[in-house]
Subunit: 418 residues, 2 copies
Amino acid sequence: MNAPAAAWLRTLHLPRPSLSDNTADVDRLSACLQKELGTPAVAIDLGLQRELPGLLRQHGFKVRCSLFRDRGRWVVTGIDPDDHPAPALGLAVDLGTTRVALRIVDLADGRALAESACDNPQIALGPDVLARIHYAERPDGLNQLTTLIRDGLNSAAAAACRAAGAAPSAIRTVAVAGNTAMTHLFLGLDPRWLIREPYIPAVNRPGVLRAADLGLTVGPYARVLVFPNIGSYFGGDLIAGILFAGLHRREETAVLVDVGTNAEVVLGNRDWLIGCAGAAGPALEGGVSRMGMLAAPGVVDRVRIDPAALRFELHTIEEKPPRGICGSGVIDLAAELFRTGMIDRRGKIVPARCGPHLALVDGIPHIRVVPADWSATGRELTIGQPDLDSLVRSKAAMYTILETLALTVGVELKEVTT
Amino acid sequence: MNAPAAAWLRTLHLPRPSLSDNTADVDRLSACLQKELGTPAVAIDLGLQRELPGLLRQHGFKVRCSLFRDRGRWVVTGIDPDDHPAPALGLAVDLGTTRVALRIVDLADGRALAESACDNPQIALGPDVLARIHYAERPDGLNQLTTLIRDGLNSAAAAACRAAGAAPSAIRTVAVAGNTAMTHLFLGLDPRWLIREPYIPAVNRPGVLRAADLGLTVGPYARVLVFPNIGSYFGGDLIAGILFAGLHRREETAVLVDVGTNAEVVLGNRDWLIGCAGAAGPALEGGVSRMGMLAAPGVVDRVRIDPAALRFELHTIEEKPPRGICGSGVIDLAAELFRTGMIDRRGKIVPARCGPHLALVDGIPHIRVVPADWSATGRELTIGQPDLDSLVRSKAAMYTILETLALTVGVELKEVTT
């Protein structure tokens, strides 16, 4: 979404028609865009063709077009009067199995205007990918799942637009990245063959679709880019991650790790990329005991422990009183606990070293991170032995994946940057 | 519609997916088509993507695709099992102001399978182009006009399909040629600016649209080619006529005349074409007195008059008893009446020369063409002085148009072929 504004918006002052220049309205606009963009291929939806004659005459033939480039073709995704137009918006969607996060950007400059997030409402029909794929096999099951996420996205987009002071109809471009199963359920594609040998998706590259065909209540001519997947277990979310991290452009070999319910690891550089996915368990964020949560104000994101005094120095997002810990906070915490000897190399709590930080909850050892009177919730925040065990297993899973990849391609892990 | 079958249909036997060839279904089909067609640009609607996994597995990955080439892109307009597929159909529509004619063709070989025709149901809201354009300016007027022609086309297409023993869903490609106003009303485009200086259509080249967007109940992924117009008074029907006659490919200069309510004349060859339109009056067919009608069984299409006996030798379509006369019959008739001296060079009836063929109807001179006891209707068929006057005026209009064109480009009319 950070391409120059010229790629997404064009302001046109069309020559007014006359008896000696009687080209039709649509063709007049199209010819002007073709010249501006240096392409013969401009597509304008029938609905926009219907609106154009009134729009042009009402606004003196001066308009701003929002555009989407679909391979060789430029699609006009909306037309606004040029006199004080409202911002034309892009909507980015991170379509997770558990959480859905949205961001609204201004297509003029790529600036983020608002964000919103919600639980994936499909959770009501199945907690995880496998349960939902099975649910989709019931009569009307797929339709129910697709309707839930569509309505959820429409609500979340409307909320983000309200926060940005804009109307959902101003959204002209939508980008959706999710794992292969979530993408199938969003598109109404049967996910049945994803989980049956030989594990074939309905589609790898859904490409650019009309928002209206997907039931999204955004601009009526908006287009939706759905990120492509590589296979049933290597989704568009990881492709989006590779593009964002620039892994495909780096000279040095680097590694990208995406940990959710599954751990996905990509190793490579601008010449080659290899990926592998595996179960990680709910090691981070919402999965870590009672204190894990998504990054938000008041969530611990950095941890240091004074080795002498065993004093916890916590940083929270926006420096609000602590109410939980996010993924990077958990990794910091585990590293510091190990560095100070409060856990051993197997991740087991060393009671003798913990002093007053040791707590027993239902007979299970925990380490107190935030005492009750400092916490935003009024309850102490702790991390327990089971949480640490999960974390160790997840880390082991990711390391195994990474080692497998490195062995496969003959790269020494010490050569790899992150 | 006479392109080789390869352009419209492709039968594909896809390699079955396996663990070592796990490309998704849509991408598998797309890759195969790209290879067959030698293009990187294949488009498959979301609805078809949804149907594909079931379709491929049910039919052993052997399917027949119907295709439509839209400039550089190939659009898949339908997918059928390869085992005994029903014909995939094309629908050609001549969208007239008064009459609408349809033809169903088999996309495999271009063969015509059935035809149907109906009055343009918009007549109920306005008899002619101008009345309908004014009607479109009323609240909901445009929507009513568009709905009428859409429903009329759907009924006529269903009737033609019944006659062809096929289902409307087998129609994958629709071609529509009409004058600029009728095309606008069909597409739901505001025709208001067609009749106001400087006479600007909403669109010259509507291009290729989805049948579903136009409310046509044909194949759900069918595409509609709407013939382009050159201006408000030079429509897609004339473009279709030029293409059909091959005027744009001929070395010698030729003339094409299309006479309906308006006369449209195109003069030119493969290097240049110039056109002009003007009012012709209802000179031919249904417009000529009580005996004029569209070509059909029992309609007079050729006339000879024995100059000595003044005996009328009539040929009727399918040699059924005569019940009317069509356009080419009227032209034959006028030529023979002039050749035998029954009318003079101004088109006036010469009573002295007509003998028993002269009749007075309400005091106006007529010529008896078919006596009552020979006619299929039981009434005599006559042509009156007012009909002949209309014909002369129409011919004069067309000749004036042609002469104007010839003068404009400096061509002698005797150089022109037809």
